[in-house]
Structure formats: structure tokens, C-alpha cells
Point group: C2
Chain length 139, copies 2
DNA sequence: GTCTTATCGGGAATCATTTTCATTATTGCA
DNA sequence: TGCAATAATGAAAATGATTCCCGATAAGAC
């Protein structure tokens, strides 16, 4: 059994950079890479370093504010989570522009757990991502 | 609509290196990284280069002989496919040792297509991976 | 055996991500 | 309000997987 670390809220300082990264993500319902966010912020005159962008994106993930999807080419992309860490969900993602729709599939959840249990696997989680072309990109 | 390239069977030469990579993968029902396969082969005295390992792993994927899973840390892992490219399936994978079981979920397939269609997405595919600890690693 | 060229592999190049660490800015408190 | 404690920053270097380059090697055809 894993030790359950107390959910100690880490003390975080409010900074311009942190706010800027969050705004950049909030601007679109799209999965975006750290490099992309960084380029966008710099282009808009924001004073921020690449390390800081990576740092905040990871913080968002740790805090359950953002989801991350690893593209086949290895690049990680981030997107603010609709309703924070409350609801478990997955995504329908446009492989062209990154636009994403949050989706739920209760049946998939139970299926995944059942299959894992049947094979004796424990401490289970899963990834379910549907990729395609959004209507805009299909044109 | 995508042009359907003629399924021209590429002429491939039989080499010791290609066979060695396939054997290394066949030895275990586990997803393994290129670096890992390379290290294993060299350790067993095999005369092979890292580039060649990557080359053959990619060939296996192109030929539908192997599946690839991208780990969260970005590393790609490969595993020979049970029944070649015939059956679409997913995997239940041990996040500790990489041991994998091929699984099927017809309901998930139809669900994925339906959800995508409802949102107007086209040219759809999906990834479904269940991770956990196998009985051996749970001990 | 000889030729053609697919394959090999050492090493350099890419490139996203991480680490380092001196500098800067935020927050709690006197 | 003033200041010390320290969290945050970011430029630069390091890391590490993967790809690229290209002269050397070897499989397959005749
Ligand atoms: Mn789920
Ligand atoms: Mn499927
Ligand atoms: Zn799109
Ligand atoms: Zn295991």
C-alpha cells in the first residue's frame, strides 16, 4: 500500500508569470505545448523564461488544474481542466490544431477496472484519448 | 479522402541485426524501449548499433508486427503484436516492468466512434491503455 | 565471383525538457 | 512601512532520447 501523503496545500506565491501562463492556456480550449505557450507569451511582449513556463504547466498538472496529453512525437501538451480535479474525464482531440472536447464514458471506466482485475493487476489507471479532425480542420 | 497507396511489399534483406532485434522483443511479452533492447543485445555480445535498433523497431511498427506505447516520460516502448495487423486491440500494461496483456473491448470501439461523430470529428482513431501493477510487481 | 545497392553503425545533430544557481520579487512579520 | 526569509525567476548548461549523415559493409541477383 502506498503511503498517503497528507494533502498539504503547498504555499505558492502569486506572480505575474504564473498568471500569464494560466491566461495563455485559458485563452483557448486547445492542448498546447510548453514551447508554444512560451513563444506566444514572448510574442505578446510578456517577460518570462522558458523554464518558468515549464514550471507552471507542471504545477497546474500537479494541482489538477490542467490535463496533459503526450503527442506521438513525444511533445507534451497542456490544457486547463474544465472543472478542476472534481470529475474524471477524457478528451476528443483534433490532431491538427489541438482543439479538445471533454468527454465522459462511464461504461469505459467500469470496463477498464474489470479487465484489470481479471488479470490481477492492481493500482490501476488508464488513458483514453480519441483523435480526429475537427470540423474546422477537416475543411 | 486519402489516397490509398498500393500496398507494395517493400523488399527487405534478411540481416543478423534485424533478426536479433526481433528475437529480443519476442523473448518477452513486455513493452521495451529501443535503448533497453540495444543494451540487452550488446550485453549478450551482439554486434549491432543503436541506429539499427531504432530502424528495425520502426520497421516492425510500419509492418504491423509491433505496437508502440509512449510512456509518460516520453520514451517509446515496443512489443511484438500477437496476431500481426489483423486484430485491432489495446493493452493492459504493468507500469513497473512493462509486461502487457492484449485486450479487446468492442463496446469501447463503438463508443469512441459515436462520440467523435457527435462532435463532428472525422478521420478518427483512438488510444486506450490500461496501466497497473502486475501480480509479480505488486509483491 | 562480381556487381548493385540495401543495410549498417559511429558520431554529430536535433530538440524537448531538466537542472543549476545567482538574481529578483513576494510574503510574513516586526 | 521596512526588512529579512525564501520562493520564484530565467539564462545558460546539461540531459537524454531520437534522428540524421555518410562512408563502410554485406545480402541478393546473375
Ligand atoms: Mn476514464
Ligand atoms: Mn480500440
Ligand atoms: Zn482542428
Ligand atoms: Zn510488472
Amino acid at each position: 500500500m502506498a503511503l498517503m501523503a497528507p494533502t498539504q496545500q503547498v504555499k505558492r506565491r502569486a506572480t505575474n508569470q504564473g498568471a500569464a501562463v494560466k491566461e495563455a492556456l485559458a485563452a483557448e480550449d486547445t492542448f498546447r505545448s510548453a514551447q508554444d505557450v512560451y513563444a506566444t507569451l514572448r510574442a505578446s511582449g510578456e517577460k518570462i523564461g522558458l523554464s518558468t513556463v515549464y514550471r507552471h504547466l507542471q504545477i497546474f498538472v500537479d494541482d489538477g488544474l490542467a490535463d496533459v496529453i503526450h503527442k506521438p512525437d513525444g511533445e507534451s501538451t497542456y490544457r486547463l481542466c474544465g472543472d478542476a480535479s472534481t470529475t474524471h474525464h477524457h478528451h476528443l482531440v483534433c490532431r491538427q490544431c489541438g482543439k479538445a472536447v471533454e468527454i465522459e464514458g462511464p461504461a469505459v471506466e467500469t470496463w477498464a477496472d474489470k479487465v484489470a482485475a481479471q488479470h490481477g493487476f492492481s493500482d490501476v489507471n488508464h488513458t483514453v484519448e480519441i483523435f480526429g479532425l475537427c470540423t474546422a480542420c477537416a475543411a
